[in-house]
């Protein structure tokens, strides 16, 4: 295969790191399903099939300065953004130390102020106007940052998407809307969700830049998000990007996807799985050697093992704590 990352300014080290984060997201996800089947955690929501887009995107942003509003599948994004495996596990076990919500919210509802990561809720799409508000505030203050927000293609049909995109367009705000189109909104297939060819076709209606890219390719994600970020920094306003992915798992651990799609369809999609194809790419260039791969897998497994252990043993929040933080408390 041709080396594509060099032209993008990435060293071999960089892309290995990129891959490692994708793989970590995948391995965490796989572990969560095991823990769920073993009755240790009641609920899983997955990232599988979307890691490439998430991690590629993160690498195109300034992870020391920019703001992110991730959605519940963004394991790859939040890991790249600085959340630790231990924190991910604390989140999934809903323990007091979970930095996202201390066990108050369901898993995958990310939020971490230290990392400039907005707090996410369950009603979909509400994060879009928030990300626009971040960009507006930054512009008012004169801060040169980008506000990055993700959401599913189903969610792009909510009014809040439209209103947020339009607002960002009018004020030419440095926002990047990245739709992770995984072909399903729970059981609802693309044809029943929208009639346009691409979600990015909507960009024109907001006077913004739009682009659809291969969501299985982290380098394509990087390129698209980089272009959007550069535009944002140049004052050229928001972008609407669409990562074409596929949801490899059921919607959540409560779902049975075989009621609405076939094994064959999923099997076909798996052939394009970004974690696998990116590994192939790295192998073919001799960057991911067998040894390195083994090392990496081991490092990840160890981290997940220890983190799981830690999270499982960690304490739940004190039941009396439910009365706290409805409003600000002056200690």
């Amino acid at each position: 295969m041709e080396n594509r990352h060099q032209a993008l300014g990435f060293s071999d080290q960089d892309v290995l790191k990129m891959y490692e984060i994708m793989l970590t997201a995948r391995r965490i996800d796989e572990r969560l399903w095991l823990l769920n089947r073993a009755g240790k955690i009641p609920f899983v929501v997955s990232c599988q099939g979307q890691e490439a887009a998430q991690v590629g995107a993160a690498f195109a942003l300034n992870r020391e300065k920019d703001y992110v509003a991730p959605y519940y599948r963004d394991f790859g994004l939040v890991l790249a953004w600085g959340m630790t495996v231990r924190e991910m596990m604390l989140n999934n076990f809903a323990k007091a130390e979970d930095p996202n919500s201390g066990g108050r919210q369901m898993p995958g509802h990310f939020g971490y102020r230290k990392l400039r990561m907005l707090t996410h809720s369950s009603p979909v799409t509400t994060q879009n106007p928030h990300a626009v508000g971040i960009a507006l505030a930054a512009k008012l203050r004169g801060d040169d940052i980008v506000s990055f927000v993700t959401f599913g293609e189903g969610s792009s049909n909510q009014g809040d998407f439209h209103e947020a995109a339009n607002f960002a367009g009018v004020h030419k705000l440095p926002v990047i809307f990245m739709c992770e189109n995984n072909h399903y909104a729970i059981s609802v297939s693309l044809k029943q969700q929208f009639a346009c060819d691409h979600i990015s076709d909507r960009a024109k209606g907001y006077g913004m830049f739009g682009k659809t890219f291969d969501g299985n390719d982290p380098l394509a994600a990087y390129e698209a998000v980089k272009e959007a970020a550069d535009r944002a920094h140049r004052g050229e306003g928001p972008s609407l990007l669409e990562a074409d992915c596929y949801r490899l798992t059921p919607h959540t651990s409560d779902d049975n996807d075989m009621t609405y799609r076939t094994k064959e369809e999923v099997a076909t999609a798996k052939k394009h799985d970004g974690v696998m194809t990116f590994a192939d790419y790295l192998r073919s260039l001799g960057i991911l050697t067998e040894e390195k791969e083994k090392e990496m897998e081991e490092r990840i497994r160890k981290d997940i093992d220890e983190s799981t252990d830690y999270a499982e043993k960690a304490a739940f929040a004190d039941p009396e704590s439910v009365f706290r933080y409805v409003y600000e408390e002056k200690d």
Binding site: A94, M106, P123, Q158, Y260, F316, V322
Partner: protein, 327 residues
């Protein structure tokens, strides 16, 4: 009489109404092949086809708004909100449009739309899959809000809602879906919207409540009967507009009133019940009106021990009845 679950009562009601009236159709997220995330519409897509069981885009305001339009045309849409929490994007369509259409058009247009929505906690649903949403809508003239407690009531009231000429919000307690079972007649029946139902006669303490808490009250009443405490249990069934007469009568009967809701306390529908009693039969009371509700914090955290602190517990009801009896 067959014994069925709360959710089976929903499916049966939908099926029977769809068979009876070809204007009835279902729309919502995942209601088709998937049969609904709770399986309330299970089998209906197969029986009635995709024209009458419509999977919609993920857009609640459109689900309700399109439903309103279809209802204006003469159809009888049943719109499913996947979780009651997710009705909020549709608030404007519900309050500004569905509720006011008849009034604003001076009786020219009407909206016979049913909005089904699973509500309630205790299912590890966290902040956005556990809420009670009725109080938000229970001050909007033009709406009717039905919240049944038993499979029998569910079936009869859902059928009534679909046949109702005006918009009805039909809240289903999601924890009751599989937990609560009960007898349902084989023959067809419809129950009246707007009526509270005495679920148990008693002399010492009156409990007024609705939804899952009715069962908590009945269990407590059963237990307390052994201690010689006789509990009167009134199930509101329709929480808006309130069946004031029946409420007043039930309060008068024992003079000691416990109001129970799973919702957070301040501004809940039991506040209206309390106000109605305080206004109409204050001097019949032998004890202050007592309200039992969830704490005034966003309901409810996900982690099990936190959820438990926020979710109404059966022993709280028992305890409160006993206290009132001893007052």
């Amino acid at each position: 009489m067959a014994v069925i679950s709360y959710i089976e009562a929903i499916t049966q009601a939908l099926k029977e109404e769809m068979e009876r009236d070809e204007n009835v159709f279902i729309m919502g997220e995942d209601v088709g092949k998937r049969g609904g995330v709770f399986q309330a519409t299970k089998g209906l897509y197969e029986e009635f086809g995709q024209k009458r069981v419509i999977d919609t885009p993920l857009a609640e305001s459109a689900i309700v708004g399109v439903g309103i339009g279809a209802a204006m045309y003469g159809m009888r849409p049943v719109a499913e909100m996947q979780f009651a929490d997710f009705m909020l994007p549709a608030t404007n369509q519900i309050i500004s449009e569905a509720a006011k259409t008849r009034y604003r058009s001076n009786n020219d247009w009407s909206v016979p739309l049913t909005i089904r929505a699973p509500y309630g906690g205790g299912v590890h649903g966290g902040l956005y899959h556990s809420q009670s949403m009725e109080a938000i809508f229970a001050n909007v003239p033009g709406l009717k809000i039905v919240m049944p407690s038993t499979p029998y009531d569910v079936k009869g009231l859902l059928k009534a809602s679909i046949r109702d000429p005006d918009p009805v919000i039909f809240f289903e307690h999601k924890r009751a879906y599989r937990l609560i079972k009960g007898e349902v007649p084989d023959e067809e029946y419809v129950l009246p919207i707007g009526k509270a139902d005495v679920k148990r006669e008693g002399e010492d303490v009156t409990v007024i409540t609705y939804g899952l808490a009715v069962h908590f009250a009945l269990q407590a009443a059963e237990k307390l009967a052994a201690e010689g405490i006789s509990t009167h249990v009134l199930d509101l069934q329709t929480v808006y507009p309130l069946d004031k007469e029946t409420v007043i009568e039930a309060a008068r009967k024992t003079g000691k009133v416990l109001l129970v809701t799973e919702d957070t306390k301040e501004g809940s529908v039991i506040s209206e019940v309390a106000a109605t009693i305080a206004e109409n039969c204050l001097f019949d009371l032998d004890a202050p009106i007592r309200r039992l509700a969830a704490p005034d914090v966003p309901p409810m955290p996900y982690a099990a021990p936190l959820e438990k602190t926020c979710m109404l517990q059966p022993d709280q009801v028992e305890h409160a009845i006993r206290e009132l009896a001893e007052f």
